[in-house]
Symmetry: C2
Subunit: 207 residues, 2 copies
Amino acid sequence: MGRCSDARDRLLATAAKLLHERGYTAVSVSDICQAAGLKKGSFYHFFESKQALAIATLEKFAELNRERVAQLHARQSAAVEKLRTMFMGMYDGACERAAANSPLLGCPLGNLAGEMAGRDDAITDKLQTIFVEWREGIIKILEQADTNGELVVSDPKATAETLVACVQGAALMARTMSDPEIVRRMGEQALAMLERPATADATVPAS
Amino acid sequence: MGRCSDARDRLLATAAKLLHERGYTAVSVSDICQAAGLKKGSFYHFFESKQALAIATLEKFAELNRERVAQLHARQSAAVEKLRTMFMGMYDGACERAAANSPLLGCPLGNLAGEMAGRDDAITDKLQTIFVEWREGIIKILEQADTNGELVVSDPKATAETLVACVQGAALMARTMSDPEIVRRMGEQALAMLERPATADATVPAS
């Protein structure tokens, strides 16, 4: 049982790595089995198909993202700082890869979306669920900030949606241009956008 | 000669369509030849490889983008309106596809970047060149607006880079969520970010 579960975890970890490095179409079940040091029988014992394994890696990533966003939400810090952490986590990861002369890989969700969204229904559904969940986590942070009077957020859903899209755009461009600084700069600009309503509100005289 | 050039154009148009619909790895030279109604001999007369044809489609797309940005730059309208046109062009295209019940396809550049950036040097180089050119076009619009006093743009390069990343993030998320409105909403938020320094600087007109 221990070995069984180890094999499943190895398949998940190997698939996550290979899909992130090479993309979905370019990686075969054989590639994954070979890299994980397992036979195809083991693979099909745990997963029906490459698609099913890819969706399981997405679920694993979603869990991690869910935890991260919940941790941010629970922090005793300003909303802007919580959201900055979201960008800086990605920035730090990109810097580490750049320092090791490894190509930047972008976001596993965004890469899979860019390759498969609208082309594979099950993968698209899973990606949609994860992105909605991510957005909902950010909405909570924004609503709390609005309640605290830290920010004025007239449309939390649209703002959260934009922040997720900013993270995705930043990840994609940083990877394409081989430049982690794009994530940092974009994060700063996205956060400056957020601060605006509070500033605007503070300066608009009562009429 | 006429037929020759027609065959090359057909290969380019077919490849652009298939790559946009299915991605790079999933499309073979045979797929492209079959869809274009041409033999492989014709293909290899014009292009060395699928990679070379993909780069040629990128060049074609870059030309179009260059023209669009130049036209925007030449317009007698506010910079914010020029930049809004950039988002709205993408929004209109996405709406047309949604109205026809066709899946949204995202940006051909962003999709290829999400699949191949850092994995194929020649494609990555070409994508970088096109993104830099796009950014430079936006910088011109921003600098002109700064000179006119329409906007205050302290770092045109960073702002232009962010706008390109916003377009990419919006295209990716709209496609993934099957929702063209994401492009419109993100465009508005990105442009609101731009207007900020001008608003802060300019005296508020009496209404």
